[in-house]
Amino acid sequence: MSSTRDIDNLIELMAKLPGLGPRSARRAVLHLIRKRALLLTPLADQISVVAETARECLNCGNVGTADICDICESEKRATGELCVVEDVADLWAMERAGVFKGRYHVLGGTLSALDGVGPDDLRIPRLRDRVASEGITEVILALNATVDGQTTAHYIAEQLDGQVRLTSLAQGVPIGGELDYLDDGTITAALRARKEL
């Protein structure tokens, strides 16, 4: 049994990853062992590299391998537009779309009365500093269409009121969405935000 202890430990750790359970972790580890040269060794090397270098950008909260991320470093992204997102995963989703050419600000969560998350627990003070110091002309609040997300958006809007142009993402029918399957809240929001053709 002791001869497989290291492998068991690896399976146990892998099983803690999102989307993996003990069974799928076992399959993944077995696959890695079988493809030792092709996958296991490079993966182990890369994990140790990332473990050494990964950090949050001191400016925006994005995850990268330098103190200031590539987006904040790039002069091309200094368009005066700042997109505020809840989480790094949201930033990555916006980048995948490839439409937004400005910079980001990751809040690190949303205000939540029930969970006791207040403004100081998020990167809201840093956002105020950036708006004042980086020549920001528009803040786009790209927060989730949830009660907590919208509460946070309104709070930020109050904080920055009068300092800068404030916009938020539209809410309505998703691309490929069928009205029959939409909830009444989405349909109401879509109808309110209707536009001329």
Binding site: P18, L114, E158, D184, T188
Partner: protein, 241 residues
């Protein structure tokens, strides 16, 4: 064992990778928690927004288990709440106060019905603050801290009632208050359901109900601080005056 009821969603928290633990305020079973399998999925997560009206089926092997909910959406109130700052702050206050002060699994059908009516008014900013004030009074009453504003606690008079005693929650006239007037809480006419209820009167009334929520109700719950959401709502409301 199982039961089926209508309820208002108070909160939803992620539980593991795919499930959520929700808290629902139901008419027949009060504030009740349970697990929703697949509650973080793209299909169900949008339904589980605070304030949503749900049809819930609760199942558990034993009554004391947390059990699991099967949920069906009846009415989403998110769109109405997202319509403005006041509506959103109001929704947050109502769900936070209910989570804060209602005992678990104890039915309160009166306050349930009033909550349902109040939430259905979300987005109607002209009438909502006054409706919310009435709801706060009803909540205090339901939980044993009701205000008696019909007669002066000192003189027995039924007119010219302008104060509320911070201790007893009873109305007091100027003559009855005497030297203690500066320690009394304001009793604007809207608190007694009289007059046109302008915003500044409603704000005064919130100060009075806030005192009883904080110093009587919260004290009875082990001195827990009132949810911050209420202060944010009052701040949003007073900004419009």
């Amino acid at each position: 064992m199982d039961w089926r009821d209508h309820g208002i969603l108070l909160s939803s928290r992620r539980h593991g990778e795919t499930a959520a633990i929700i808290e629902v305020f139901t008419e027949g079973h009060g504030r009740h928690a349970g697990v929703v399998r697949g509650g973080t999925s793209r299909k169900i997560a949008p339904i589980l927004q605070p304030g949503a009206q749900l049809d819930v089926l609760w199942r558990a092997r034993l009554e004391e288990h947390i059990g699991s909910f099967q949920v069906e959406p009846l009415r989403s109130r998110a769109a109405a709440a997202f319509s403005g700052r006041l509506a959103l702050a109001g929704l947050n206050t109502v769900v936070a106060l209910l989570s804060f002060c209602l005992p678990e699994r104890e039915p309160h059908p009166t306050i349930y019905r009033q909550t349902e009516q109040l939430l259905d008014l979300l987005g109607q900013d002209e009438v909502w603050p006054l409706a919310y004030l009435r709801w706060e009074l009803a909540l205090l009453d339901e939980l044993g801290f009701g205000l008696d504003l019909s007669v002066c606690a000192v003189t027995g008079a039924r007119e010219r009632l302008i104060y509320v005693s911070p201790k007893s929650g009873r109305a007091v006239t100027a003559a009855g208050a005497g030297d203690w007037a500066d320690r009394m809480l304001p009793l604007p006419p809207c608190l007694r359901g009289e007059g046109p209820a302008p915003d500044n009167e409603i704000a005064q009334a919130f100060a009075t109900t806030g005192h009883f929520l904080e110093n009587h109700l919260a004290r009875g719950l082990g001195h827990k601080p009132l949810p911050e959401a209420r202060a944010r709502f009052i701040e949003t409301f007073t900004r419009r005056i």
